[in-house]
């Protein structure tokens, strides 16, 4: 007998499994909205706060589920993209006016790998959205489970409890699917947060004492996300790991 699982989407229940809270009579509009925001590019939907550089965008999400009200089919996000990424491309996601996340997508990812990577990148963007909304936007919790949900929650609460927010720009690059085993995968990404400034949430001004992670070399690190494919076909981050300077794996992110 396998123990039940608790998810957050309107998922089918299987014998011996428990659905997430939302599915027990509450899998309505909010669930769809949450999934849409998380699954489709961390809120970066076509024509909405996104900017791309480089080659013509080869990746086309299946539409704005949040606005269209279409069924939130997680497996239809990246997996239904028309073709694998054949060339690297850059995407800029606006978290809020004044804060962006740029993502350098690698070439050669097939549809499944795109979904794995998006589970991480969407979660990263959604976490910043939670910070700048002072916890009001809790969509980030839909893309994480297990230890990662606690880490992400604690991370966001750290800002909220201190009434702090953020502005500026963060970068994700050298993203790769390092390993795939069955339902599980390891996604590695370099993060550069030297362009982020922590602000006083009420005043909107940068705080006087900026944390160490906003300054090199600590601002550049390796973030590892272990993602798992659920019974609904969606990947969620199950565990985060990282390597910070002076760890060799963090040094490999310098450029």
């Amino acid at each position: 007998m396998r123990a039940g699982m608790l998810g957050r989407a309107g998922l089918r229940m299987r014998p011996g499994m428990l659905g997430r809270p939302g599915m027990l009579g509450r899998a309505g509009t909010r669930a769809r909205a949450v999934l849409a925001a998380v699954i489709l590019g961390g809120g970066c939907l076509l024509g909405a706060g996104c900017a791309e550089r480089g080659p013509e965008r080869p990746f086309t999400p299946g539409g704005d589920l949040a606005s269209s009200g279409a069924p939130a089919d997680p497996s239809a996000s990246a997996a239904d993209a028309p073709g694998a990424l054949s060339t690297p491309w850059a995407q800029t996601v606006e978290v809020t006016p004044g804060m962006t996340v740029s993502i350098e997508w690698p070439a050669g990812l097939d549809a499944e790998q795109q979904a794995m990577v998006k589970a991480f990148t969407d979660g990263y963007v959604a976490s910043w959205k939670a910070v700048v909304s002072q916890g009001e936007d809790d969509g980030y919790l839909a893309g994480v489970e297990d230890q990662a949900s606690r880490d992400a929650y604690t991370w966001v609460r750290g800002f909220v409890d201190r009434r702090e927010s953020a502005t500026g720009s963060a970068k994700l690059y050298a993203v790769r699917v390092a390993s795939v085993t069955g339902r599980g995968a390891e996604v590695d990404a370099c993060v550069d947060e030297s362009g982020v400034r922590v602000t006083d949430a009420a005043a909107g001004r940068p705080v006087a004492r900026q944390p160490a992670w906003t300054r090199p070399p600590a601002a550049v690190y390796l973030q590892v996300a272990a993602v798992r494919k659920g019974d609904d076909g969606a990947f969620r981050v199950r565990t985060y790991m990282h390597a910070s300077y002076p760890h060799q794996r963090a040094k490999e992110c310098r450029r």
């Binding site: 957050r8 929650y153 991370w155 750290g158 995968a185 199950r238």
Partner: protein
């Protein structure tokens, strides 16, 4: 769907308070890239004098597994811990009391049954360990005496012991030490080999145990010279033979050509210590020897020498 493990871990792991919010998420990697086994979320205990040196790269066939964990009562108590409850509601903002009770019910249902919860663990030193572990379920209930699909086996425990088994890198001693000459026997032996057996035991306390032992058996020498430029004497025994004036030359290299035309003007000699592994044989498991290799640069000069029978001992 989110897995059960969240609550399994919540009762055992405490998130350290952050001085400054932000920055990287999750646990940090340690600078340990030489170990063959780094156990995570596991109750397996590794011990023995074969731990701690550099891994020879042996990889277990499956770097993740389920291993026996709590019984029904203990698991239920952990899940009913207040901190679990609090985190559950933090991370399930839409969750209701009814939902949480349904979550707890799956543990209550097992109370009174004979069996254990088996939980996933993995070898973090394996490049596929994390992804393998991530693909497993959060926990599975197994009736007494049973093993779930993917449950660790005795063979896999032996494999872990073998992966953790290391031997010291050989310290090559040569005579002559700094520079050799054409036709001059270059004696080779190992220094500081210490004890010639190394063991590692991998144990799940109270469940099963596996011990493997490596015994230093021989030394293998590669001259580093192109074919026809050297003669290797390989009657070395476990550690070679230190130079003895007038002794028989049985272990080493006689270079026949100078190294002046080689990169950096040296031959790169390699010496490998070979340690056959025992353990598990009585239950049908066998392992390849552990091997450790070191290299030495050997410049070989062009001095003309006259070699007579019985005079090749210096």
């Amino acid at each position: 769907m989110r897995s059960l493990l969240s609550s399994v871990l919540a009762a055992t792991m405490v998130t350290a308070p952050m001085a400054d919010p932000g920055g990287p998420m999750g646990e940090g990697y340690q600078n340990d890239r030489t170990s063959g086994v780094v156990l995570r979320n596991s109750k397996i205990v590794l011990s023995g004098d074969g731990l701690g040196a550099k891994s020879d790269g042996y990889r277990v066939k499956r770097p993740c597994w389920y291993e026996p964990g709590d019984n029904a009562d203990t698991m239920l108590n952990r899940q009913q811990d207040q901190s679990v409850r609090e985190f559950w509601f933090h991370t399930h903002p839409d969750g209701t009391e009814q939902d949480f009770n349904a979550f707890i019910k799956q543990y209550k249902d097992k109370v009174g049954e004979n069996g254990r919860w088996w939980v996933p663990a993995y070898n973090a030193a394996d490049p596929d360990g994390l992804s393998c572990w991530t693909g497993l379920e959060g926990a599975v209930w197994v009736p007494e005496g049973g093993t779930p699909p993917g449950g660790i086996t005795l063979e896999e425990l032996y494999q872990l012991a073998r992966a953790a088994l290391t031997v010291p890198e050989p310290q090559i001693k040569l005579s002559p030490d700094v520079k050799s000459y054409v036709n001059l026997p270059t004696w080779v032996w190992l220094a500081g080999a210490g004890q010639t057996t190394r063991s590692v035991t991998a144990e799940i306390p109270g469940v099963m145990s596996a011990t493997v032992t490596a015994t230093l058996a021989r030394v293998e020498i590669k001259s580093g010279a192109p074919a026809g430029r050297a003669e290797v004497k390989d009657d070395c025994g476990p550690t070679g033979h230190p130079y003895v004036k007038g002794g028989a030359f049985r272990c080493g290299v006689r270079y026949l050509r100078a190294s002046v035309d080689q990169p950096r003007k040296v031959y790169v000699m390699s010496v490998t210590s070979v340690w056959p592994v025992t353990g598990g044989g009585d239950v049908g498991f066998a392992f390849q020897p552990v091997q450790a290799t070191a290299t030495r640069d050997v410049p070989v000069g062009e001095v003309q020498t006259t070699v007579r029978d019985g005079a090749d001992d210096s």
